[in-house]
């Protein structure tokens, strides 16, 4: 075994870095695992920031006519809460798991384009920092994450220009990442890893990457039109000059609804991995779970106008989109039933990952049911733009996606860090989170039906909804407490010495667990040859004559163990500065759009130099 050689190569003026350890290596790494961890830590930091924004929102709404925040501050905070949680937390956190796990699960050494992977991460984090710099440069975006013009295009503050530019930047990150991961799944699978032997998490990953590739161009067009309207006086959305405000809404939701599935399908993949492992049973109806996920992806492009039932599209459009919205409930239901089928007759171990996964299913069901009531268009005339909707999508995206992501953290923590999170504190966190979550978002159904609109910075006592607002605020602080428990658990765990008594602590089924914890930089000493779904499981267990599973004694497997021949060279791409250089140019260009053409030129130069250096350097340092 070996890694890349150590002779430094000179490409132009900068020495190609070769260090794979030390703090500097984090800036030059092209290793999918390190990039996955970078994604994870950054996304979690944004989760905390978005969470603080949520606490500010709930504190403001804790009593009627509150003056903790004024209208201006409130509008910025609720806008940034949405942007942060969607674009800077759930999407990159999913990217973290995809990055870390997809190559390991399909038996690859890295993603298809390792430097592009680094570029994606740097563009994402710089885009996020660019968005947040708006707080110090004249005000954060204040027109909602949905940014409806003409309000967003005529607002005099600078915030929505940051919004348009910032989301274009993070969109570049997501597009590059999506192409990279899709190519990885299609081209880099180990011998024998046919598409229908892939773990469901990889399937959902592939589906999400395709959704991204098709949905992001739509929002990018819309964002550029908004930018032109705001910055250079065009009239795409200006009704007084013949523009069409509804054009934005159609473009935005044609992106925005697939985006919902971009956020939730990773969690579906995670749940589909965790439930079989902790039920000691294979996933029930693998093909149905896979195909229903793909179906959700397709139908997800055909339901966007259900965000626009009150817009006045007319009864024909409302009928059509009401029906498609009802249809998408079917494949979602298939998944739920198959998960129940997986647990049925199982031998269920309720370790923390399992608690979060089952919690995610249970909470998502509630969000799914309230979603069906939105398909009932006339009833949605009452509910749209009220807290009922806020309740609905938090049950889906927090109850579904975030519970799933926490489950994933508990499940794959030993893989990445060779330490196991404390089980007791994991359970404590789960139960506080479950109670806090339901206290926060459950009452919002009542608030919405009781007539509380979204995005209002305060409400009068005479609305009669003070009590449920207070319950919701208490719940939000319980969610904060549970997050604190998680952070303390993680910090305490990381102080313990590295090393696991059992490198396969959950008795897992998929290939990533066949590697050491944490996996070496090259992942597999020998690329595994795959014979079935749940390959790793079948290396550990065989069925006896009565069809019962028995553990294979160590060394007696009919699968050859991973080779231990010494001395053959594994070619891995060397670290590189260039992705970071190329990425730095993008926010510089964006600041240039706001302040000076000279900066645009400078940023463009940096990016071009970055791409040039990238193109010219050899794949490995020589």
């Amino acid at each position: 075994m070996a890694t890349a050689a150590t002779v430094p190569a000179r490409t132009g003026i900068i020495r190609r870095p070769t260090e794979v350890t030390g703090w500097w290596s984090w800036f030059t790494t092209v290793d999918h695992k390190k990039i996955g961890l970078l994604y994870g830590f950054s996304a979690f930091a944004f989760f905390l920031i978005g969470g603080v924004e949520a606490l500010l929102i709930r504190s403001q709404l804790a009593k009627p006519d509150n003056t903790l925040l004024n209208a201006d501050q409130y509008n910025q905070i609720f806008t940034m809460h949405g942007i942060t949680m969607i674009f800077l937390f759930v999407m990159p956190m999913s990217a973290a798991f995809f990055n870390y796990l997809i190559p390991l699960m399909i038996g690859a050494r890295d993603v298809a384009f390792p430097r592009l992977n680094a570029f994606s991460f740097w563009v994402f984090i710089l885009g996020g920092l660019f968005l947040y710099s708006s707080w110090f440069l004249g005000g954060a975006p204040n027109g909602g994450w949905f940014g409806y013009p003409p309000n967003s295009t005529t607002d005099p503050s600078i915030g929505m220009t940051f919004y348009a530019l910032g989301l274009v930047i993070t969109g570049i990150a997501s597009s590059a990442g999506a192409i990279n991961l899709a190519v990885t799944v299609v081209n880099m699978r180990a011998p024998g890893m046919t598409l229908f032997r892939m773990p469901v998490f990889v399937w959902m990953g592939l589906t999400v990457q395709f959704l991204l590739v098709f949905a992001l161009p739509i929002i990018t067009v819309a964002l550029f039109e908004m930018l032109f309207d705001r910055r250079w006086g065009t009239h795409f959305f200006d009704p007084t000059a013949g523009g069409q405000p509804l054009l934005w809404q159609n473009l935005f939701w044609l992106f925005g609804h697939p985006e919902v599935y971009i956020l939730i399908l990773p969690a579906f993949g995670i749940i589909s991995e965790i439930l079989p492992v902790f039920s000691r049973k294979p996933l029930f109806g693998y093909q149905f779970v896979v195909f229903s996920g793909i179906a959700i992806g397709f139908i997800g492009f055909g339901v966007w106008a259900h965000h626009m039932f009150a817009v006045g599209l007319g009864p024909v459009a409302n009928t059509a989109f009401g029906i498609t919205t009802a249809i998408i409930a079917v494949p979602t239901g298939i998944k739920i039933f198959n998960w129940m089928g997986t647990m049925y007759k199982g031998d269920i171990h309720f370790d923390s990952p399992m608690l979060f996964a089952v919690g995610a299913v249970a909470m998502f069901v509630i969000g799914g049911l309230s979603g069906v009531t939105h398909a009932v268009v006339p009833s949605d005339y009452q509910q749209t733009d009220t807290y009922y909707i806020v309740a609905h999508f938090h049950y889906v995206l927090f109850g579904g996606a975030v519970f799933g992501l926490f489950g994933a953290m508990y499940y794959w923590w030993p893989k990445a860090f060779a330490r196991q999170l404390n089980e007791l504190w994991g359970k404590v966190q789960f139960w506080i989170l479950l109670v806090g979550f339901n206290l926060t978002f459950g009452p919002m159904h009542i608030l919405g039906l009781g007539g509380m609109i979204r995005r209002e910075y305060t409400y009068p006592a005479s609305l009669g909804l003070t009590f449920w607002n207070q319950v919701s605020t208490v719940g939000a602080f319980l969610i904060a407490l549970s997050t604190l428990v998680f952070i303390l658990n993680a910090a305490a765990t990381q102080r313990k010495p590295k090393g696991l008594a059992n490198e396969d602590p959950w008795d897992a089924r998929t290939l990533e667990w066949s590697t050491p914890c944490p996996p070496p930089i090259y992942n597999f000493e020998e690329i595994p040859v795959v014979h079935s779904i749940d390959e790793f499981w079948h290396r550990k267990y065989v069925e006896d004559k009565e069809g019962r599973l028995v553990r294979v004694p160590a060394g007696a497997s009919d699968h050859p163990a991973d080779g231990h021949e010494e001395g053959h060279v594994i070619h891995l791409p060397s670290p590189s500065f260039w992705p970071l250089v190329a990425a730095v140019g993008l926010p510089v260009m964006a600041y240039g759009v706001l302040y000076s053409w000279w900066l645009v030129g400078a940023g463009a130069l940096v990016t071009v130099v970055g791409f040039m250096g990238w193109a010219m350097e050899p794949p490995v340092a020589e």
Binding site: L246, A310, T319, K345, G451, I453, E456, T458
Partner: protein
Amino acid sequence: MRRTRWILALLALSILLVACSKSAPQNTMNPKGPTAQTEKNLLVLVLWPAAAVFVIVEGGILLISIRFRHRKDRDRMPPQIHGNTRLEIGWTIAPAIVLAVIMVPTVSTIWQLARQPADAMQITVEGYQWWWGFRYTDPDMTVSYGDHDAIVTADVMVIPAGRTIDLSLTSLGGGAHSTSGVPDHEVIHSFWAPQLFGKQDVIPGETNHIVFSADEPGVYWGQCAEFCGLQHGKMKFRISALDEADWQRWVANQKDPAVKPTVGAAQQGMDLFFGTNGVGGQCIQCHGVGGTAASSTAAPNLTHFAATTHECFAGCDFQVFNPDGTPNVEALKAWLRDPNAVKLGAKMPDYGLTEQQIDTLVAYLYSLK
């Protein structure tokens, strides 16, 4: 199982609380007119199958979790079931049938609510940042003076109880456009009075419709439901439904021009309002007062500012009268002193009025019965 029952009881209790809460004036579960009633009925119709699915799935998850949880004495692997095609087909088709059944009344109601009866009373709703204007466009709803324009009101829409109303929703600018001549701040709003009708968006360049009626006389609450900028949260309105006699009285009063006080503080306030003596006159740049030279439509029409006890101003953020019927003088004074201080971002400028000037303006405005 105890937990399931507990959750169900809590759910029923909370639905009950919403349904019975008479003190919530925007409660969609307590409709006061046929449109809101139809919309509520449809939701309740869906809640039954939704509740059934909730119980089956959540109960199923709980039961499976309890029944099949790992036991210490169990050392054998469970049966390795990979799936069951018949079951899969079953749980694909069954929900599809339930959904198809739900969609039948849904679709028919979509079309039913889209119908615009020819004999409905016509009112045009105008959304501004951040207040509402109402224009009564029926031919018999014109004023008795000037060009016999339509009656207009701001923030309170008055209707006859029981009559079917057809609202035309338009978005207009407000604020600066009166002086610059170019409409601006035309943004999207949404018109919503929860106890009377579900919302429809108010979109610049488009005209949407809401058809509704109020069963009983009363004051109904509403507010803008689509984020429309800084003071979206305080863009409210009231719908006042009157019985036939009150309605006739109200219409007759609205047809009259504004009162012109001839003595005291009210007259001084009027002079300041119109700039008659060379002082003031800024008010009429934006506000209209019927039967006078003040004809701007950029800000709320003040012709009958204090006509009824349920009047409100500044996006219904403030009531003109206290609940006991006395004038809410302090709120109006605070507003005139510095609109931005009481409502951040308000389009009405602070004219640096003296306390004495404010007193006279208040007297004038309250004389506008």
